[in-house]
């Protein structure tokens, strides 16, 4: 346990402020299940992405001007005149997409291996808070360049609040600071876009504190019971994480250097015009499933409520799934419903990208129904109906038994 540092200054400081001991404890000797697969690398990558976003964001803020008359041009100036401005902006722009890719995989990982179950409910709920804050941050950030998509995206999303009975219109006016999306809106969005990532950072900190209370879950979903079940975080998982950082950066760089605008919309290179709405207005890809749910419902208030509910329901997931078995590996029925849930999210995304016409309406309604049924009907029923497969006695045993190994 207690380490002795060689450096005397380190020892002197640590005696008064045990920061080095706690780092050593939480990032070196911290025991981690020895059987994690690569899906457990995405949390670390998401943390890296958060840092990259904060660093590039601060740099962009040094050149950006939050004023409707200058915002668009200040972004073009970053692209053309500021030294390396183009690469810094492309990192930040594509970084948002990368962040969502990583976090979506991270969430699906948790849902398949039952990482949300006791005793990790608070860890899970903090994750959902992070996810929600990321959505708000990304939406607000997209408004800042003040292109056509920025402006109309901001208009449509803020107008969602007008669906609230009685006070809806007042709330929208309050959000806007006026009678339409305009300079006051842009100015406050910039202030919030600067603030929220640091709030996320704080919640990530809590997320990690909660994680370290019981340690990571693992592909078997059973607890670590013996010393043989775990290995130390350093060097084993630091190296594994470093390896996936390399792979991830290659993927990220493809977009930055070869296809920087692939994930965006060309219309956002047209300056905002409050008098003309673009023909197809779609949100960024990471919002598409939720956008599809919004449009699937033929009622303004209903659509807004279901869209919000689609995220809110994640908060109570630990109490909807009552099955005592965590990992989907040992849940023969759950497995298939979960696979369908993942496919269903892609179907929703596909519908969200297309105009709400013809068969897309029907498909998005069915997909919306399945999305909610998964949480409200299927998981609670499976908790009762499903007969899980027998669990291995321990992590190390499942690894060392040659029979298990071969199958």
């Amino acid at each position: 346990m207690s380490v002795v540092f060689k450096n005397r200054l380190v020892r002197w400081i640590d005696h008064r402020m045990p920061i080095f001991s706690s780092l050593h404890h939480e990032m070196y000797e911290y025991p981690v299940p020895r059987n994690l697969n690569y899906l457990w690398n995405f949390g670390f990558l998401a943390g890296l992405m958060l840092i990259i976003m904060i660093v590039t964001g601060i740099v962009l803020a040094m050149h950006y001007t939050p004023n409707t008359t200058m915002a668009f041009e200040s972004v073009e100036r970053i692209m053309r005149d500021v030294n390396y401005g183009w690469i810094i902006r492309y990192i930040h722009m594509n970084g948002a997409s990368m962040f969502f890719i990583l976090v979506y995989i991270h969430i699906f990982r948790g849902m398949y291996y039952g990482s949300y179950k006791a005793p990790r409910e608070i860890l899970w709920m903090l994750g959902v808070v992070i996810f929600f804050l990321m959505i708000v941050t990304a939406f607000i950030g997209y408004v800042l360049p003040w292109g056509q998509m920025s402006y109309w995206g901001a208009t449509v999303i803020t107008n969602l609040f007008s669906a609230i009975p009685w006070v809806g219109e007042d709330i929208v006016t309050w959000l806007w600071g006026g009678f339409s999306v305009d300079n006051p809106t842009l100015n406050r969005f910039f202030a919030l876009h600067y603030l929220l990532p640091f709030v996320i950072l704080g919640v990530v900190f809590l997320h990690v504190i909660a994680l370290h209370r019981f340690g990571s879950n693992n592909p078997l979903g059973i607890d670590m019971k013996r010393p043989q079940d775990s290995i130390s975080f350093h060097p084993y998982y630091t190296i594994k994480d470093a390896f996936t950082i390399g792979l991830f950066l290659i993927f990220f760089c493809y977009f930055i250097f070869f296809n920087p605008n692939y994930l965006g919309h060309p219309d956002n290179y047209i300056p905002a015009d409050p008098l003309v709405t673009p023909a197809h207005i779609v949100p960024e890809w990471y919002f598409l499933p939720f956008y599809a749910i919004l449009r699937a419902i033929p009622s303004k208030l209903g659509g807004v409520l279901l869209m919000g509910g689609a995220i809110a329901i994640l908060f109570v997931l630990p109490w909807l799934d009552r099955s005592p078995v965590r990992s989907g590996r040992f849940r023969p029925m759950f497995k298939w419903f979960f696979a369908l849930f993942v496919i269903n999210c892609f179907v929703l995304g596909y519908c969200g990208a297309n105009p709400p016409e013809g068969h897309f309406i029907l498909i998005s309604r069915i997909a919306t129904a399945y999305y909610f049924a998964y949480f409200i009907v299927i998981l609670p029923l499976l908790s009762v109906l499903e007969k899980p497969k027998p669990l291995p006695a321990s992590i190390s045993e499942s690894i060392y038994q040659p029979k298990n190994h071969l199958e």
């Binding site: 660093v55 740099v59 100036r77 005149d81 030294n83 390396y84 810094i88 470093a242």
Partner: protein
């Protein structure tokens, strides 16, 4: 092979494959971080549009003898003085050995009647007075810095006070008889 321990130990004085991997990946990471840091540092240097504004042209024909104007170049004041014959003489007839920062007036003025200097005191950056008629020009008829009392002569050379060096002459050229380009 199998009994060889990884790492450099007493039994195994050779650097191991693992040592090589640690060094190589550490070096790669260091290069990567440096490559990422470079744009983040460079973005704070003047941008292309700022650099594009870094030279200006000035028409001197409207400046009467004895008159001074101040123009803004790269955000700083530049003093242009159309010197009188006495001022030119005063600047030329100085014993260079007496000067804190010895420099011949000929090196400082491309044409004797025109003096072009950056109007920022070389002490701590105030703008000296003496451009307008009636302002304090100090004992040597050039400029007087109100901040800590530095005095400059009609060639913009430091004569008295805490400033260490002469007012700098920006790079400029006469692109026509009456027009100069600074920068």
């Amino acid at each position: 092979m199998a009994d060889k321990k990884p790492g450099k130990t007493e039994d195994n004085p050779e650097a191991s494959r693992r040592d090589f991997l640690v060094l190589a990946s550490g070096a790669t990471a260091a290069v990567g971080i440096a490559a990422f840091a470079w744009p983040l540092i460079q973005q704070m240097n003047p941008a292309s549009d700022v650099l594009a504004l870094s030279s200006i042209e000035i028409d001197l024909s409207k400046i009467a003898v004895g008159q001074s104007i101040t123009v803004k170049w790269r955000g700083k004041p530049v003093f242009i003085r159309h010197r009188t014959a006495e001022e030119i003489n005063a600047a030329a007839n100085v014993n260079l050995a007496e000067l804190p920062d010895p420099q011949n007036d000929k090196e400082r003025a491309k044409k004797p009647e025109w003096l072009v200097v950056v109007g920022i005191c070389t002490h701590l950056g105030c703008v000296p007075s003496g451009q307008k008629v009636g302002e304090n020009r100090g004992e040597h008829g050039g400029w007087y810095c109100p901040c800590h009392g530095s005095q400059y002569d009609t060639s913009g050379r430091i004569r008295k006070g805490p400033a260490p060096t002469n007012l700098p002459v920006p790079s400029y050229e006469f692109i026509k008889d009456n027009i100069i380009r600074i920068g």
